[in-house]
Symmetry: C2
Subunit: 148 residues, 2 copies
Amino acid sequence: MTTDAAAMLAVALDEARLGRAEGGIPIGAALFGPDGELLGRGRNRRVQDDDPSTHAETAAFRAAGRLRGYGRTTMVTTLSPCWYCSGLVRQFGIGSLLVGEARTFHGGHDWLAEHGVRVTVLDDPACEALMREFIAQHPALWSEDIGR
Amino acid sequence: MTTDAAAMLAVALDEARLGRAEGGIPIGAALFGPDGELLGRGRNRRVQDDDPSTHAETAAFRAAGRLRGYGRTTMVTTLSPCWYCSGLVRQFGIGSLLVGEARTFHGGHDWLAEHGVRVTVLDDPACEALMREFIAQHPALWSEDIGR
């Protein structure tokens, strides 16, 4: 992992851990600009806000506010993005996607790569451990969050 | 158009017109349950809330609250859903999609049909007229909303 990727993932992982501490689903994300500047960060808020629409990636996207042009931005997320969040990345033309891990959930990152997004799967053990622990402890909540 | 479809589309169209009256992007949506009961409704809120993440479909989905199982629900939207909103429909397994029109914007409804969603395009003139008027008056805002 490059230093830049590690630093970006650290922000997403921090969000995921904040989510866990709140009793929520521990997935975090952040959106960075072309020079590595943080544009927005967020975490899944299904439990905290009783809001099924706030996934980590949509929270980070919202936090970045209204922007014109996402081609030079990077979305980093602790977990492979579900179809909902993959659709967000594709629709807005987010240029790069860093995925913490895709072992506990395989979302739409291959599809995004096929459609021109620069995708890197970091295979990060800390992201994976966080999700494995959560899924083992809250299987029904996890199923709810991904519509299973 | 069946009576049921017309009644459901009327709710989405009402939301779209509310959005137009607020100076927003005139796209509305609603989620209905298996017996035609309204679960949630909403509209694009990019302008109203300065929130790029609230599309009509995500607003309706959020308004419905946390549910277990979307297979017997119907999402109705005045406009073909963008990738972001199509991803929402696919991820949560929303069983049916009613699209007001797909002439002014062709989103992911074919992709959803390929993946088992029951898709009906209603080709409704009122939905189309609303979007044509909006796009002509606010082309930059429309481009912003779909990431162009």
